[in-house]
């Protein structure tokens, strides 16, 4: 039981992610979480504004069910299958964040500096979450997939477009962390 309560190593998590992808293909579907964002737009009536959202969202109910399961899985893992553990982050990483003024690094999944209600109620904090979320939503649809659709499913099927998208993911991430973070948090 202790093995389950402790954080899981990469060599357990990675192959399990591949099995999740494989299972969905076995069910006749494709692993792609970002498609749900489009489905939500359609449910909200976006089909009247743009043809892109004019599709039968009920065909995506299976994927919305995966989302519901993911929320439940997050709850189970966090509240039932974990003991309070500090994350085993690289001390260099922790030091770099403390220079940006981050405290209690790695003591929770998300930094209070961005996700606590105090942070959310500040203009800077709210802007970070809204801009970050907007870029994820816009970028993933423009690129036709996200980490699950491109990095795992696409690369597993040796698709060149997915490789280009993943290179883009890293290009964007490196620009954000190395060029923009010093401006945002410095």
């Amino acid at each position: 039981m202790d093995y389950i309560l402790q954080p899981w190593p990469w060599y357990v998590a990675g192959p399990m992610m591949a099995l999740i992808m494989f299972t969905l293909i076995y069910f006749g579907k494709t692993f792609g979480m970002s498609s749900n964002l489009r489905t939500f737009c359609t449910i909200a009536g976006a089909g009247k504004k743009a043809k892109f959202f004019d599709f039968d969202w009920k065909a995506q109910r299976w994927n919305l069910t995966v989302v519901l399961g993911a929320v439940i899985g997050g709850f189970i893992a966090h509240f039932l299958l974990s003991v309070p553990t500090d994350m085993d982050l690289n001390p260099v990483t922790v030091e770099s964040l403390s220079q940006y003024g981050f405290e209690n690094v790695g003591k929770s999944l998300l930094p209070a500096e961005l996700y606590s209600w105090d942070a959310v109620l500040s203009l800077k904090g709210l802007s970070i979450l809204i801009i970050g979320g907007f870029l994820v939503g816009f970028g993933t649809r423009y690129a036709g997939g996200c980490t699950s659709g491109h990095a795992i499913t696409g690369l597993s099927n040796l698709q060149v477009p997915s490789l280009i998208a993943v290179i883009g993911f890293f290009l964007g991430g490196l620009i954000m962390i190395h060029l923009l973070f010093p401006l945002i948090f410095g």
Binding site: M33, M87, T93, G133, G168, G173
Partner: protein
């Protein structure tokens, strides 16, 4: 009842990503600074396992539960949409620390402020849909 299997897949997905800390903002930050192997190990071993599973699937012509061959539709050819869209996604991923799976999983861990990120992502998808015909692909 036909949806119960998808619920189960989602539950396992959520558990794996929380227990491996892949839903953590800190892990994403650490990954983009190349200061840990952890995230590369997860993505790398997922892709290697996935490649092997798909090679075996093609070789032995496995069928899905609907009776057709197990396969993944090819992504459309293109360059601009993948590199530009991918880069925009990466900027948002590193800033918010959440991609489109983890943002739901994090709701389950009790971080309700992540709902702001989800709503903003839905808005971003909406704006893409409206501008789609004007963007280079």
């Amino acid at each position: 009842m036909k949806f119960i299997k998808f619920l189960f897949v989602g539950v396992v997905f959520g558990i794996v990503l929380v227990k491996s800390e892949a839903v953590s903002w800190y892990r994403i930050y650490e990954m983009f600074r190349f200061e840990s192997f952890h995230m590369y190990g997860i993505i790398g071993s997922a892709v290697i396992t996935g490649v092997l599973l798909m090679l075996i699937t093609k070789k032995f012509k496995f069928k899905n539960i609907e009776g057709g061959f197990m396969s993944v539709p090819d992504k459309e050819k293109g360059l601009v949409r993948y590199i530009v869209g991918g880069t925009l996604f990466g900027l948002g991923w590193a800033l918010s620390g959440a991609c489109p799976g983890p943002m739901y999983i994090l709701v389950g861990t009790g971080v309700f402020s992540i709902i702001i990120v989800i709503l903003a992502a839905i808005l971003g998808t909406y704006v893409y849909g409206v501008l789609r015909d004007k963007l280079p692909h």
